[in-house]
Amino acid sequence: MGEPAGVTGVVERAFREERAGVLATLIRQVGDFQLAEDAVQDAFAAAVTSWPRDGVPDSTRAWILVTARRRAIDRLRRERSTADRVSRLAELARLDAQAHPADRGHDGTVGDDRLRLIFTCCHPALAPPARVALTLKTLGGLTTGEIARAFLVPEATMAQRLVRAKRKIAEAHIPYRVPPAGELPGRLAGVLAVVYLIFNEGYGAAEGDRLVRGELCSEAIRLGRLLVELVPDDAEVRGLLALMLLHDARREARVDAAGAFVPLDRQDRSRWDEGRIREGLRILDGAMALRRPGPYQLQAAIAALHVRAPSPEATDWAQIADLYGALGRLAPSPVIELNRAVAVGYADGPLAGLEVLLPLVDDPALARYQPLHAARADLLRRAGDVPGAADAYRRAIELSTNAVERAELERRLAGLPAG
């Protein structure tokens, strides 16, 4: 028991720390996302009035779960239209009559439920934007309004997206479970993709409420930690967490006082988050010790080489080029090949970089790919081909959609020595 203000803090902390776990268990017990969500909301509202009056219960989780389950029973009794309400009520009454050992129980049960929840929210039968929204809403602590602001859509649109996703889960009977071993690797990759999408949405240089976008990064990292806790023996799960931590360490330094984007080579390295870097490197080591390399670990290893370098010049570009090569063999893409060319350009000189770039320059599908022209311009400038560099800068400027980026390219073009 404590001061009313202290109790409010306890409720808030319980909400932050216990909500997703309780919700995960209740969804399994009531078999309905919406009903479980409403009932958990009811239970926290009840805690706000009950805990200051009667004292904080020993196990806040057990209290919230039992209360939420009773609210679910009440709601189900009123809900006459639900087809299987009789059997559901019987099951809930049976659970309620138990002495709740399973609810209190060890972390295994709670963890299993949270894992079920993650896999269901990220089910491939849901559209990717719905997976992202549902994951943030049920497992993260974000409200519908916050998610809507982060994704720059009206709140009503986001609310509709969440309602539709929950309705599809119910109507199409998407199972609430961890997929069997045979399907697990593919489904886990899908979950990681959703988490990384959430992170990138927060990390990307696009517009939007910066505060909320920072929260998206934090939520993605929190989900990453949860996955490492729940699936500890998967190297890529750890690789993704390491990757997000190592990127996030640089988040503050990517924006200057005026709010403009600062590229990696001109960031103030003293503004990088040491704690995040140390944790990221430690988790990456743990991932690599499992000896099952994958794209997230390779990207994290590249990010690690950048953050370990005391200055842009001291960066181990040769190893970064090798890592991009390995990444390209696992998941071939022109974006990766372009990054490899840039790294080779620093490691072995601009001519070597231009040679890697040649097949990309010849690919008509990439003719309008702005980063290709910007990278080529830099390499040509360093190789001393001033007219070639000027042409490539002009092409990159023409294709640029971002004012900050365009200004930077114009500065470089103007800085070329007179031909």
Binding site: A83, A172, H173, P179
Partner: protein, 113 residues
């Protein structure tokens, strides 16, 4: 258990012209698997779009047109109704439909199922 209709969508020009014997074997095997696992409720193959007639009633007047309801490059070629525990099971059967490698299978739960 919920029931799902597997709507088998195929290109208008029909299945690939080669390997008829192999294709026929695959359909027989697929059907046998559904029967053996006890999930099959019903299955029907449909005659081609050339045989289709579309009916609409507008302001009390019946309009009859030759052909399917919409001119598309793919059309419904058949349906299979299965009785399975959940969507994952239905999707697994959908992935085994022989025509899925050149067409598509839309999986729809029965309403209220």
């Amino acid at each position: 258990m919920p029931q799902y209709m597997l709507l088998m969508i195929q290109p208008v020009e029909g299945p690939p012209k080669e390997n008829w014997a192999e294709q026929s074997k695959q359909w027989n095997q697929f059907h046998q698997d559904l029967v053996d696992s006890g999930v099959l409720v019903a299955n029907y193959g449909l005659a081609g779009a050339d045989a289709a007639t579309t009916v609409r009633v507008r302001e009390g007047e019946t309009q009859i047109t030759d052909g399917p309801f919409a001119e598309t490059k793919e059309l419904l070629a058949g349906v299979v109704l299965v009785d399975v525990p959940d969507l994952d099971a239905a999707l697994a059967y959908a992935a085994k439909v022989p025509s899925v490698s050149y067409g598509a299978v839309e999986v729809r739960p029965l309403w209220g199922g």
